[in-house]
């Protein structure tokens, strides 16, 4: 071989190796980009939402003034319940800031506290009527604007709509150590509200629970039955081919189409009430059915034929083979598939918007026929709200949703590793 050829090859080789390195780097960058997006997404949600788990409270000296309340300590319970607690917290604020005298200023002043403060005072007095006429130091829930200001606004960040006067009052309270953050239990025990400081996810979580219950109760039995039929009993003919094509196509139909189906069929034709977990669950079960069928079929095929043959050999009928042997062995795999399907249904929003689960509902549902909303829809509703405090709560609600998803997927993984037999 001449030197020139050798040189060409060597130079060429250098170029080819360089291309190889670039290609590899491109691959690394791609994987890195995917992982970076994951980290950015979680980091963003976490950093935005973590603040919502703590909530600002203001300590005030409350004189349970019988004159303001209009009841005395010896009054009966019903009287105390309807006493003027709204006036009480306002009177307390007036007393705390005596320099505020005009009507307009006072109205601004009252907005330092959440309207929930009246209910807190009411609950305290109901539990202990002797309080009336006494003076106590009590931590009361602050308004969401004060909350935002105390948590973020003091570092110069522009948040919320706190006026300068309000900021001055808030600073005064902070200087005296009368403002602190405490764990936001209301986030988990309250229903939805227009006031961010008392809005909670309980209603949405219960709604999701009822909806998923309906989804599971319909899609799991039907999906498993369909899978058994297609794997074990179906003759190979045009009809079963058609069914299979249908199942595969349904798995790829956009979820919003199922919402249209639910609206036209369940609500318009059958007259199922809107906004209830029953209709949400029905729609989601139609959507998850293909997933359940496909994963159930996979776990039925995974049961080795020798088991079937052995059972048939000792005189079991086809149905007995399936019910006594194939089904129990395939059950862990089927459950795993169903849980993954449920996890998808839990995060699904679009079809539920179509069937009216976007209503503003304060009371948590107590059954499948109560109007309700679900977690993802609650997130959608809160994300649409203008208040800065809702952005924080939206992220917190997303964190709750993600925790549920992680638990469900973790359960599926655990179930698979624990119960599934490898043949």
């Amino acid at each position: 071989m001449t030197d020139s050829v050798r040189k060409t090859v060597r130079d060429n080789l250098k170029k080819r190796y360089r291309a190889e390195r670039y290609f590899r780097w491109f691959g690394v960058i791609s994987v890195g980009f995917g992982l970076l997006c994951l980290v950015a997404l979680f980091g963003d949600i976490f950093s935005k939402g973590i603040g919502a788990f703590r909530q600002t409270a203001v300590e005030l000296e409350v004189f349970f003034d019988p004159d303001v309340l209009g009841v005395s300590a010896s009054a009966e319970e019903a009287k105390i319940r309807t006493a003027n607690f709204d006036g009480l917290y306002k009177a307390v604020l007036r007393e705390r800031f005596p320099e505020v005298t005009t009507r307009g200023d006072r109205r601004v002043l009252y907005r330092l506290l959440s309207t929930e403060a009246a209910f807190d005072l009411q609950a305290l007095s109901m539990a202990n009527p002797d309080l009336i006429g006494q003076t106590r130091k009590i931590w009361l829930l602050a308004d969401d604007d004060v909350d935002m200001y105390f948590k973020y606004g003091r570092s110069g960040e522009q948040v919320g709509r706190l006026s300068e006067a309000q900021q001055a009052w808030a600073e005064q309270l902070i200087a005296q150590g009368a403002v602190k953050t405490r764990f936001n239990t209301g986030l988990f025990t309250n229903g939805d509200s227009r006031d961010p400081e008392i809005a909670g996810v309980k209603g949405a979580v219960l709604g999701s629970l009822f909806t998923l219950m309906v989804t599971f109760l319909i899609s799991f039995p039907v999906g498993v039955a369909a899978a058994i039929y297609l794997e074990e009993f179906a003759p190979k003919n045009k009809l079963t081919d058609f069914i299979e094509v249908n199942i595969n196509n349904l798995a790829a139909v956009p979820s919003i189409i199922f919402g249209l189906l639910g609206l036209a069929v369940f609500i318009n034709y059958f007259g199922v009430p809107r906004s209830v977990p029953l209709v949400g669950g029905l729609v989601l079960s139609l959507m998850t059915l293909p997933t359940v069928i496909i994963s159930s079929r996979a776990s039925i095929t995974a049961v080795p034929p020798s088991i079937r043959e052995a059972a048939l050999g000792i005189g079991a009928s086809k149905v007995q083979v399936v019910l006594h042997h194939v089904l129990p062995l395939a059950m862990p795999g089927m459950l795993t598939g169903a849980i993954i399907g449920m996890a998808r249904a839990l995060g699904e929003t679009a079809p539920l918007l179509m069937i009216g689960m976007v209503a503003f509902i304060i009371d948590p549902p107590s059954g499948v026929l109560d109007p309700a909303t679900v977690l993802p829809v609650q997130i959608y509703l809160w994300a649409d709200s203008a208040e800065r405090a809702f952005t924080e709560r939206t992220s917190a609600a997303i964190m709750v949703l993600l925790v549920f998803l992680i638990v469900m997927n973790g359960l599926a993984v655990w179930l698979r590793s624990r119960l599934e037999t490898r043949w």
């Binding site: 994987v31 995917g34 369909a226 039929y229 196509n249 919003i256 839990l346």
Partner: protein, 462 residues
């Protein structure tokens, strides 16, 4: 009796009839010398009794529940005074709900005229009738069915065959539900779309370049004309999908190549599930991320270089959608890359090719049909994706291909048209179904093509 008590009673009857069947057959077998003298196992007699008890009762319950509302409303409307015959569908619906409210005691009598008294009384009468007789009839049917089955139990009756046949039929019906769903989807979107095309011409819909579905509710309202041209929506959908594909295809494909060809087993085992988490995150979360974080960031970046970026730019929605689809593309590509036979790889290495040359010149061409199929499936996902665009893309139709402007998509419009109050007699609501039909047809078409391409490819190596 409310619905849940009825269900509980039915469950109790089910359990009772099962044990009734089992015990009755055992009792019959005892004088004969044990259950080996029965024609079937005792549990089969139990199942037979359950079948007799539950199936007719459930059918009655279902039919009654489904038709109850419409039968009552027809009978009540027939009793309305004659002048209501000229009312439109919507007005009649309002009147009917007022009657229902009076009947249930929510509203007072005086809110309705005396002329409606027979209708209201009829309604109360019918409602008390179904409330009283529905549970009674359903439960007695269940009990009678169970008793008949128990009466029929005999040692000679080989009940296994009918029970297994019924089991088979039930399974078949369950798998038929998939077909029913498809039929339901097609019918619901097609019927409403046909009504829509009765009002708006098909060509105006498909070729129109104006989309402003605000139709006046009252005739004298300003801006009463609606325009239903779907082109701006399609262009918007395509724009966002293309942006998404620009992110998802290179990243997804290269990740799949890197993880299946270069990465060590340990790296693969860690990174692959991590990437798949992206697919498990609900789309609402992506939507929030796009609207709150990505869109402002892009806007700020655009301002930094002197570009005018809309706050609901197509770019933000498209980028985030692309991230969502990465794992979808990468797992589909992974499958097809792994399906390429090793002999092709070995042959290429044997000729002296480097690893990247093998991948680029041998593996990718061999896997191309599968990859194309996967990309098509991803496109159909992007077109049907709703929440990201609802939250991060605009809601005003805007015929443009500039990714920095706000565009709207088919799914966004379906949501905006259908969320809130709906009357099924105006073109605005029906338009959503026409859009749904279009979406269904497009995604179905893409899926068919994708599956066809993939299938064709598979035949090469099997």
């Amino acid at each position: 009796m409310n619905a849940s008590t009825l269900v509980l009673v039915l469950i109790a009857i089910t359990v009772a009839s099962y044990y009734g069947g089992v015990m009755r057959s055992q009792a019959l077998a005892r004088p004969l010398g044990g259950i080996k003298h029965l024609s079937a196992l005792p549990s089969y007699y139990g199942f037979m009794a359950v079948t007799w008890a539950v199936i007719p009762a459930l059918i009655l319950l279902l039919v009654w529940t489904i038709y109850e509302a419409s039968v009552i409303s027809n009978m009540v409307i027939a009793l309305l005074p004659s002048e209501t015959a000229s009312l439109s569908e919507g007005e009649l619906g309002l009147l009917y709900s007022r009657i229902a409210n009076v009947a249930s005691g929510i509203m007072q009598w005086d809110t309705l005229g005396e002329a409606y008294r027979p209708a209201v009384e009829r309604m109360i009468e019918l409602q008390t009738f179904t409330a009283r007789y529905k549970p009674i009839l359903v439960i007695s049917l269940a009990v009678v069915g169970a008793l008949i089955a128990l009466k029929m139990v005999s040692a000679q009756w080989n009940v296994r065959y009918p029970v297994e046949r019924i089991f088979n039929i039930l399974l078949f019906l369950c798998s038929g539900i998939a077909v029913l769903i498809t039929v339901g989807i097609v019918f619901s979107v097609v019927f409403e779309s046909l009504r829509f095309f009765g009002e708006i011409s098909f060509f105006d819909f498909v070729f129109g370049t104006q989309w402003s579905p605000q139709i006046a509710i009252r005739a004298d309202q300003v801006g009463a004309s609606g325009a239903f041209g779907v082109i701006p929506l399609l262009v918007g959908t395509m724009l966002i999908s293309i942006i998404a594909m620009f992110v998802a295809v290179p990243v997804g494909l290269m990740s799949a190549i890197y993880l299946s060809e270069y990465a060590s087993v340990q790296v693969r085992n860690i990174v692959k599930p991590l990437l798949e988490i992206l697919a498990g995150i609900p789309t609402i979360v992506y939507g929030f991320f796009a609207a709150i974080t990505v869109a402002p960031a892009i806007r700020a970046a655009g301002e930094g270089v002197g570009l005018e970026v809309a706050s609901e730019s197509a770019l933000a929605a498209g980028l985030v959608m692309g991230v969502m689809i990465i794992p979808f593309v990468s797992s589909l590509s992974d499958d097809v890359i792994n399906a390429v036979p090793n002999s092709l790889r070995d042959g290429s290495y044997g000729l002296g090719a480097t690893q990247s040359e093998t991948i680029r010149k041998v593996i990718i061409p061999a896997a191309l049909p599968g990859i194309v199929g996967g990309v098509l499936l991803a496109v159909s996902r992007a077109i049907g994706e709703t929440m990201i665009v609802v939250m991060a893309a605009g809601s005003m139709a805007n015929l443009t291909v500039n990714p920095l402007e706000a565009v709207t998509t088919v799914t966004v419009q379906i949501v905006t048209l259908l969320v809130g109050d709906q009357e099924f007699d105006n073109a605005k609501t029906l338009a959503a179904f026409a859009l749904g039909l279009m979406l269904f047809v497009i995604t179905l078409g893409l899926n068919f093509i994708a599956l066809y391409v993939v299938k064709k490819y598979r035949e090469q190596y099997d």
